[in-house]
């Protein structure tokens, strides 16, 4: 997968606590429903890529978006989770779907 050069520094650093936005997306987006509103932390900065939400409609996909690897606790995601307390889930999430965890989620 070929990325784009970073146009500006990433908004979030490794270790930052982030919340997945809860907005309703119209059209193609790559942030799964089960993560929306949940808090995880950044464990990787994957690069900068053209925006799939625009590429999906034959647009150039600019501005390119920083893509993060975000780690969640499985126990936080699923109320009935029966697995080990240390179980984790990682997902690649674009920057425009992330807010600082300290900010309240949208109603």
């Amino acid at each position: 997968m070929s990325g784009e050069p970073m146009a500006r520094p990433p908004r979030f650093a490794i270790g930052a606590e982030v919340r997945i936005d809860t907005r309703a997306a119209i059209g193609h987006c790559r942030s799964p429903w089960y993560l929306r509103g949940h808090v995880g932390h950044v464990v990787g900065i994957q690069g900068c890529y053209r925006d799939p939400e625009r590429l999906a409609y034959h647009r150039p996909g600019l501005p390119a978006r920083v893509l993060y690897k975000v780690r969640f606790s499985q126990r936080d995601l699923w109320t009935d989770y029966q697995g080990d307390t240390g179980d984790q889930l990682e997902a690649d999430i674009y920057e425009h779907w992330l807010t600082p965890a300290t900010e309240q989620a949208d109603a």
Partner: protein, 136 residues
Amino acid sequence: MVDPVPRTELRAQFGGRAVHDVGGLDLGPIDFGEHDLALWEKRVDAMLILLIGPKKGAFKIDAMRRVIEDYGEQQYDATTYYEKWVRAIRNLLLEQGIVDDAELAAALADARAAFAAEGRAMAAGDVPDDRAGRRA
């Protein structure tokens, strides 16, 4: 060419979830069995790789995802993996003006005639035209 408009097909009774976005829902057991791919499925796979490759660049894989996500719930659930692919490829070739309706109809008629001449059965009738705004 058709200018695609963002829209979202929601899955009934599951809040604002889009049709495909079913992670975490209890939708019954998952079949983990392996199975051989049919020749047509391998051809569809090859066709997609060629279409999205740098030489042809007919569309981005994200557009493919979008078209599949735009299937209504009924059609999304009723079609197999490569059925989704081949329908999406068909829709995108029409959407991008790479193939037009008349060319597609002619190619299908030729295929039907060739099959008939060999005494082979052709799968079901027309695949529903599920391009944006055209679904009945």
